[in-house]
Symmetry: C2
């Protein structure tokens, strides 16, 4: 059955601007292999699994593009995608990604290149909720307690049930996010939702998942290898 959502142009901007700094490697973390395949290819494949109709925009630093091409050859990776050069910050990178979309209307999911285990049902829900109106932001409850560290160096316990850890995808209507990204960049823009919100548009939190980790540290890579084996 074809739904109104199916008839809406859908895009995904995959932001892959990370370095290997916190990973302790010289290879950008999105290129590190998990199960023998670069993380970024896993991530892009999730969106293709959701729907081959989603148009993929990969935002990658200029300097990493030739390596990416070689990796694609070696791994016979042939998903149709548009590659865009990243900017100096995430805000600039997403802005570049948006500029590469020609359609005036539709929905766009923005997703971290190093979150290869996003469940397909989460991608689907994020598009569905964004289609209803508000931006959709994947989020999970905290497992650990949390403290606020104040500028004077002291810290205080907070109620963790009032907080959510934010993941991606973060999915929006194209005209809304386009307008939001016309604002000057601010240091308070911690993610794409905060940009959209700062322009007066509320966002809706959807249930993310603990498997949807952002691969950041060597511990995460260990987990990713194990999780992939379990899934296959």
């Amino acid at each position: 059955m074809t739904t109104p959502l199916d008839l809406t142009p859908q895009f995904a901007i995959i932001v892959a601007g990370g370095s290997g700094n916190r990973m302790g490697t010289s290879v950008p973390k999105q290129f590190l292999p998990v199960g023998g395949v670069p993380i970024l290819m896993h991530t892009l494949t999730r969106f293709f699994e959701y729907s081959p109709a989603v148009q993929l925009i990969l935002v990658l630093p200029q300097k990493d593009q030739s390596v990416w091409e070689k990796l694609c050859e070696r791994h016979h990776f042939q998903l149709p995608l548009k590659i865009v050069a990243g900017g100096a910050t995430r805000f600039q990178s997403v802005k570049q990604g948006l500029a590469a979309i020609e359609a005036a209307e539709g929905l766009v999911a923005i997703h971290d290149g190093v979150r290869p285990f996003v469940p397909v049902h989460t991608i689907r829900e994020s598009f569905e909720v964004a289609y209803q109106g508000n931006g959709a932001v994947a989020a999970v409850a905290l497992k650990d307690s949390i403290r606020l560290v104040t500028p004077d160096g002291t810290n205080q316990s907070m109620d963790r049930t009032q907080f959510r850890l934010i993941q991606t995808p973060q999915t929006f209507r194209l005209p809304v996010i386009r307008k939001s990204f016309e604002q000057p960049e601010q240091s308070s823009f911690t993610d794409d939702a905060s940009v959209v919100e700062s322009d007066g548009n509320p966002v809706t939190l959807i249930e993310g998942s603990y498997q949807n980790i952002k691969i950041t540290t060597p511990e995460d890579l260990v987990w990713a290898e194990a999780y992939l084996k379990l899934m296959s």
Copy 2:
């Protein structure tokens, strides 16, 4: 070289009151095997590795104690420890653990039974900082963005650099924590540090580590198996 800290009586209360609810198992999660050995045995061993002089107090629900004894027999697990019946809440369980310590002076680390990968250097630092005066609480920076969910259902972006995720151990001077646990229990007591703090004692955050996870969900168990293999 013997330091003043070495001459101070040191205790560790290991709190193991968890169910298997979020894990989807009927076995309490602290008894689930990682590398073939129950999680709780890994955790207790970390403290023994830090120092065989640390006196271990294991707080375990009464109903789980016979299973624990059988597990100890099967795994030839013979670390010297005092077993105390847990209470209905973490606050009550820690209070029971404290009541089992006869010494008037000294230091006590409180640690989650399901954090088996706490580095020995973190345990050491927590005792050292607690010896200096303030309570010592292991904490790490957030990898994800964070949002505050308000009671009216809306949510707002927060600056994640102002927050820390709280781990254990949380280590205190015995007289300080004893007095703090004489307070009536409050719902705002999210961890042991919040109890001590509520009694007017500041705590110091020390650097925790991303390997020091609290095994809570099936994803965590996958990670634990992989991490243990990597370490061995």
